[in-house]
Symmetry: C2
Subunit: 192 residues, 2 copies
Amino acid sequence: MVTELGRRERKKLQTRRSIADAATRLFLERGFDEVGVKEIADTADVSVTTLFKHFPSKEALLFDEDEEQESALVEAVRHREGRSIPMALRDHFVEAARGHADHPQFEVFQRLVVETPALRDYGHRMWTRHQDALARAIAEEVGAPEDDVRCAALARFALEARDVIFDRPDRERAADEVFGLLELGWAAEQQS
Amino acid sequence: MVTELGRRERKKLQTRRSIADAATRLFLERGFDEVGVKEIADTADVSVTTLFKHFPSKEALLFDEDEEQESALVEAVRHREGRSIPMALRDHFVEAARGHADHPQFEVFQRLVVETPALRDYGHRMWTRHQDALARAIAEEVGAPEDDVRCAALARFALEARDVIFDRPDRERAADEVFGLLELGWAAEQQS
DNA sequence: GTTGAAAAGTGCAATCGCTACACTTTTGGA
DNA sequence: TCCAAAAGTGTAGCGATTGCACTTTTCAAC
């Protein structure tokens, strides 16, 4: 079902992109706190009002399109080929980290986020938004009630694990240890 | 070493208290977003400048003095009388919840925090600040290096556990399940 | 094709949290 | 007694965000 979007939608997406692009470029060049929304709007050749019609906050300008992340998490739990759920999630994170290692832009992006408190917080909040979706996927996978506590906890822990692992030198080993912590407790009282 | 603080310190603490009290009262009466810092300052009979000399942000007005929480966490890990660390933390949370159940003011306070995104976020950020201290205490307890990954992960998970448990009807059972998830994985590869 | 309503964009004024600045008052100790 | 540090004040201002009234563009029904 390819939704052949008309000129209107196309233009809308276009201005949205041009705003996000301008913001990302300026932020990377000079730092989040050193760039005002006015300047971003000017660079993208739109009004400040328009900018805020497209994005709910200054921080949101940098975190665009993370719907893929959520579905990727859910997929990781679903198609896991015999592995336990914690191990499947571990692999998912490790692979994602490897994927990012390719693009050198990502390194700079991460650096900016980590070093700017406002962005660090916003990013973390966006990330943990996936908790419910992930918990539901896990529950469905093991036939538990949708709001099972253990599933919710595992989802939350897995999402938090990313940050714990992130600032370690050897991330792969860190991932092993952190998810290893969840593995046994999860296996007990659980069929898969 | 009782620090006999002089008139100056006493007055400072006094204005600080009167600001915090005014803020708390107004927030509880009308909601966080419905009260401006100007009004709080006026109520406490100080200038806005003075208010911000005592508190770093509007949110901080409600979360005063949580240094006790950190030491309580560390103590829970230290004096645990044979229990495993996850179980000691579980008990600590359950007891804390029971203690709060006594004061009915606390119910209202919690309600305000949970229902106000800005406060929810701020509270969570303050809470997770304890991660490092807790992780160090755990590491010291089991003789692991100060920055051990498993210790850091257990600390983070335990702190996050509070929120997972909070909105469940039967918090005690929820605590059992959530910390049970950590128990086995922690016990493996660990002497205590 | 024309037209009319919805959607996209604009510019301005205002709110609100927060900070810098220059200033007065208070206070504790030498 | 006196002085430097600390506490407090008022104003002016910044920057993100919103509401409002407005113009322009676009789509679709007629």
